[in-house]
C-alpha cells in the first residue's frame, strides 16, 4: 500500500501514524513532473510556436541590424545599374532606379515589424481599458459598444483608408489608423471576458465584503483577461502588418520614399511582368512573417485555453 506515492518503508513515523486516516491510495491526479519553465514546456509540446518564434526572432534581428547587414543605402539611386538581375553584389538585383532590392527589403522589415508590434501593443492596452470599463460599468456599456459596433461595421481597410486620406502618410499616422481599426476587436473580446467573470461567485463575494470597483477590476477581472488578450494581440500584430502593406501598396500608407514591403511591391507593380522579384521577395517576406506570428498565436491559444483548441 502506498500513501502519497510513497511506500510504507519510505514514510516518516508521523506519516505512518496518519496512514490510517489518510485517504487510501487516491489516483495520482497530479503526477510528479520534472519542473520546466512554462515557456520551455510550451515549446516542447508545440513545435509550431517554436518555429514561429525562431522566424520572428530572425526577422527582428535582420530588421534591427539592417544597417550593418545591408551593403547599400536603401535610398541610394544608381542610374548605371538599373534593373540588374540578382548577383553577388546585389543579392536580389536592383530596381528601376538602381536601388539595391536586398537592402530595401531588409529596411522594409523594420517598418513592417514596427507597425505590427506597436499596433498590437497600443490596441491591446487601449482596447483592454475600453473593454474593462464597458464590461464592468453597465451604464457606459450601451454607448461604448454601439460606437464599437459602428466602427466594426466599416470594413477595416476602408476605415484605415478613410483616415489616411485625412492625414498625410507617415509611419505614425499609419500606426494610429490601424490601431483605431483594431481597438474595437480587442475591446469586444475583453468585454466578453469581463461579462462572464463578473457573474462569478468570487466577484460577488468581493463586492459583498466591500471591495472597490477599481480593486475588483484590477485584482479579479484583469488577470482573467490576460490569456485571451495575449492570443488576440498576436492576431492583431499579423493583421496590422497585412494592413500596413496594403495601405502602402495602394498609395495610402507610408510615403513612397520609405522602403516598406508594401512600397517595394507598389514600385514593382508596373514592371512585374518582366521583373517579378520586386513583387515576390517582399510578398514572401511578409507571408513568412505573418505565418510565423499566426503560428505563435494558434499555439498560444491551444495552450492557454484547451477548450478553444477545438474551436476555430
Amino acid at each position: 500500500m502506498t500513501v502519497h506515492g510513497k511506500t510504507r518503508r519510505e514514510l516518516t513515523a508521523g506519516e505512518r501514524k496518519g496512514e490510517y486516516i489518510a485517504a487510501p491510495d487516491l489516483p495520482d491526479v497530479f503526477p510528479p513532473q520534472r519542473r520546466v519553465g512554462p515557456l520551455t514546456g510550451l515549446l516542447r509540446r508545440n513545435k509550431g510556436v517554436a518555429l514561429g518564434l525562431v522566424i520572428t526572432a530572425t526577422m527582428s534581428l535582420l530588421a534591427v541590424f539592417a544597417p550593418l547587414i545591408a551593403q547599400f543605402d536603401p535610398a541610394a539611386i544608381s542610374p548605371m545599374t538599373r534593373l540588374k538581375p540578382p548577383s553577388s553584389a546585389h543579392f536580389f538585383g536592383t530596381d528601376m532606379l538602381g536601388r539595391d532590392i536586398f537592402s530595401r527589403v531588409l529596411y522594409g522589415a523594420r517598418v513592417s515589424l514596427t507597425v505590427g508590434f506597436v499596433v498590437a501593443l497600443l490596441s491591446s492596452v487601449i482596447g483592454l481599458v475600453i473593454g474593462l470599463v464597458s464590461g464592468y460599468f453597465r451604464l457606459l456599456d450601451g454607448v461604448i459598444m454601439r460606437v464599437m459596433d459602428g466602427l466594426m461595421s466599416i470594413p477595416g481597410i476602408l476605415l484605415a483608408i478613410a483616415m489616411m486620406a485625412l492625414v498625410g502618410g507617415s509611419l505614425l499616422t499609419v500606426i494610429v489608423a490601424i490601431t483605431v481599426v483594431e481597438i474595437p476587436r480587442v475591446a469586444r473580446l475583453v468585454r466578453g471576458v469581463v461579462l462572464s467573470i463578473r457573474e462569478q461567485a468570487y466577484v460577488e463575494a468581493a463586492i459583498a465584503v466591500g471591495s472597490s470597483s477599481g480593486k475588483i477590476l484590477l485584482r479579479h477581472v484583469l488577470p482573467n483577461t490576460m490569456a485571451p488578450l495575449l492570443v488576440q494581440a498576436t492576431y492583431v500584430c499579423a493583421a496590422a502588418m497585412v494592413l500596413e502593406s496594403i495601405l502602402s501598396f495602394i498609395g495610402a500608407g507610408i510615403p513612397p520614399s520609405v522602403p516598406s514591403w508594401g512600397n517595394i511591391m507598389a514600385d514593382g507593380r508596373t514592371l512585374w511582368q518582366i521583373k517579378p522579384t520586386m513583387i515576390f521577395i517582399p510578398a514572401l517576406c511578409l507571408s513568412i512573417t505573418i505565418l510565423a506570428i499566426n503560428l505563435i498565436g494558434d499555439g498560444l491559444r491551444d495552450e492557454l485555453d484547451p477548450r478553444m483548441a477545438k474551436k476555430v
Binding site: S153, I157, A165, S245, I290, L291, N294, K311
Partner: protein
C-alpha cells in the same frame, strides 16, 4: 419570426447612423474648402461666400449632418470633386465587376472550405486533418497580392492559360467573363476559404460528439450522410456567422485584387479617389461598402431562424 426580422432591421439603424456619422466627420474634417473648389480658381471672396451660402456650408455641424443624411436616403451621395459627376452614378457604373468578383469569390470559398473543414473534422488528429489545417494557416497568412501575383505569373505569363489582367463584361459571354475572374476570385478567396475551413472544422467537431450523431450511426446511417446531412446542418450557424463577418475581409481584399488584376471596379475607384484626394467619392465608397457589409450580416442573422427553427427571438 416576422417581428424578429423587423426588430433586427430596426436594430441596424443606429449602427448605420454611427457609420454615417464617422463618414460625415471625415468630409467635415477634410482639408480644402469645397466652396473654393466649386467656385473655381478666379473667384472673388464674395463669390466663394455666395457658393458657401448656397451649399449651406455655414450651417452648424449637426444641421449639415442631418441634411447630408437626408440626401443619402434619397440616393444622393454628392458629386465627385475630380470629375464633377454624381458619386452614386460613379459607384453604379463600377458595380458589375466588383459584384461579379465578390459573388465568384464567395462561391469558390464556401464550396471549397466547407468540404475541407468537414473532412478535417472527420479525420481529426490524422495526417489528413493536419495537412488541411496547415494549408488553412498558410492560406490565412499569405496576403492577397502575394497569391494574386503568384497565380497570374504561373497561369497567365508562364502557362498562358488565362488573360493576365483586365475585365470583360458578363454581356460579352460567360466564358470570357469567367476567364478574367477565375484568378482574382481564387486569390481573393484563399484567405476567406482558410477562415471558413477552420470554423467548419471546429463547429463540426463540437457537433460530432453529440448523442444524435451516435444515434444516426447506430441506425446504420452512412458516414457521408451523417457528416453532410446531420452534422453540417447543426454546425452551420457558426459557419454562417463567419461567412458574414468574412465579407469585411473580402471587401478590403477586393480593393487590392482589383488593383493587381486591373479590374475596373469599385476597389479601383477607391484607389483613384485616394490618389486624387476626392473626399466625397472616398466617403461614398466607404459608406457603400459598409452598407453592403451590414446588410449581409443582417441577412445572416435572419437566416439563422430559417436554418435552425429552435432559434426564436
Amino acid at each position: 419570426m416576422g417581428f424578429y426580422i423587423l426588430r433586427r432591421i430596426v436594430a441596424t439603424i443606429p449602427v448605420m447612423m454611427i457609420v454615417a456619422f464617422f463618414v460625415f466627420g471625415l468630409l467635415y474634417l477634410a482639408p480644402g474648402d469645397p466652396a473654393e473648389i466649386i467656385a473655381g480658381d478666379h473667384a472673388t471672396p464674395e463669390q466663394i461666400e455666395a457658393v458657401r451660402q448656397s451649399l449651406g456650408l455655414n450651417e452648424p455641424f449637426l444641421v449639415r449632418f442631418f441634411e447630408w443624411l437626408l440626401d443619402i436616403v434619397r440616393g444622393d451621395l454628392g458629386n465627385s470633386v475630380f470629375s464633377g459627376k454624381p458619386v452614386t452614378e460613379l459607384i453604379l457604373q463600377r458595380l458589375e465587376p466588383t459584384l461579379s468578383l465578390m459573388v465568384l469569390t464567395l462561391i469558390f470559398a464556401v464550396s471549397t472550405a466547407i468540404p475541407l473543414g468537414v473532412i478535417a473534422a472527420n479525420y481529426a488528429g490524422s495526417w489528413v486533418d493536419r495537412t488541411i489545417m496547415a494549408v488553412a494557416v498558410l492560406g490565412f497568412s499569405v496576403p492577397v497580392f502575394a497569391t494574386g501575383y503568384a497565380m497570374a505569373f504561373v497561369f497567365s505569363i508562364e502557362l498562358k492559360w488565362l488573360p493576365i489582367q483586365g475585365y470583360a463584361d458578363l454581356s460579352k459571354g460567360v466564358g470570357l467573363w469567367l476567364s478574367h475572374l477565375v484568378l482574382p476570385a481564387v486569390s481573393l478567396g484563399s484567405v476567406y476559404m482558410a477562415l471558413i475551413a477552420r470554423i467548419t472544422r471546429a463547429s463540426m467537431l463540437e457537433v460530432l460528439h453529440q448523442d444524435y450523431i451516435r444515434t444516426a450511426r447506430a441506425k446504420g446511417q452512412s458516414q457521408a450522410r451523417i457528416l453532410f446531412l446531420h452534422a453540417l446542418k447543426n454546425a452551420s450557424i457558426s459557419i454562417m456567422t463567419v461567412v458574414g463577418l468574412g465579407i469585411a475581409l473580402m471587401i478590403g481584399g477586393a480593393v487590392v485584387t482589383e488593383s493587381v488584376f486591373a479590374i475596373p471596379g469599385i476597389g479601383r475607384l477607391t484607389i483613384d479617389a485616394i490618389l486624387q484626394r476626392d473626399y466625397p467619392l472616398i466617403q461614398g465608397v466607404v459608406l457603400f461598402f459598409s452598407f453592403i457589409y451590414v446588410l449581409v450580416n443582417l441577412l445572416v442573422d435572419i437566416s439563422y431562424t430559417v436554418i435552425d427553427p429552435r432559434i426564436r427571438y
